[in-house]
Subunit: 93 residues, 4 copies
Amino acid sequence: MAHTRDPKDNAALLMRVKRISGQMEAIARALSSGAECADVLHQVAGVRGAVNGLMDEIFEAHLREHVARPGLSDTERAQGADELAAVMRRYAK
Amino acid sequence: MAHTRDPKDNAALLMRVKRISGQMEAIARALSSGAECADVLHQVAGVRGAVNGLMDEIFEAHLREHVARPGLSDTERAQGADELAAVMRRYAK
Amino acid sequence: MAHTRDPKDNAALLMRVKRISGQMEAIARALSSGAECADVLHQVAGVRGAVNGLMDEIFEAHLREHVARPGLSDTERAQGADELAAVMRRYAK
Amino acid sequence: MAHTRDPKDNAALLMRVKRISGQMEAIARALSSGAECADVLHQVAGVRGAVNGLMDEIFEAHLREHVARPGLSDTERAQGADELAAVMRRYAK
């Protein structure tokens, strides 16, 4: 099942994932070439922010698509909510 | 300047970065192939944990190498501490 | 409107809030009495974990009560989801 | 041992802790009086931000006082760094 009903949204998510992959490659290059420690720290912190943003976006897409969307059955909504709760519990910050 | 005095540590960091790149590629594939929303959420949450761990490791390496290490000047220690404080402030969670 | 249908759950939340208040008072005492810096750090980190846990619990209660619960209207569910998304966006970590 | 050399800084930290205690009491009152779920969520998210800020401030004070400060012995700096690393590891986000 797609994460979003709208293929355009899915393409946007994918673009975001690829941008983070690019940031990770830049960090690998920085580590390999002996870049300044402080610069690498900022790069990693930037990736952390980007991953948190991606997580929030997919979380919200799931919430709207699998819990709030009109036409779902009570059981489907309960399952969608259980899945979100499981992610929150397993990866509690 | 290298992030760690020990090339073995630097290689370990690089390995960790590459593992995260691999996880990001798996997420891109999952999104492209229409994998289950809940599965993608867990994958992204896993990457978030891995990035946080990487961040903590580089932060600690900087702390030991640029603030605590015997033989640094007072000015170098102050600068190392300023750099850590700047990262903390800029990316406050 | 109550946060949970079940008064027992609401009492449990309140208990949790009061426990965190107690932890904050212990930190105030530690600071006043000149306790070890490292000990205070651990106390504050403990409170942070407790507040994150409280946040997750209230978030989940809202999700189940105002988005997933059988019998809500489509509009009510959309509003409940909007409220969760607003909290996530405003306090993105 | 005091957390900061400067009693004025310690008073500022204490003020900050008391403000968070006040926010927790407001949350307890909101829960008791059946306030809107979404409002409580925002209040708890606000406390989370405040606790993170407090944590960062005490972390930085420790870093400057117990690791970077001129005049410490190598052993004292190593111990100060170990304490920070222990907090980071134990409460990894």
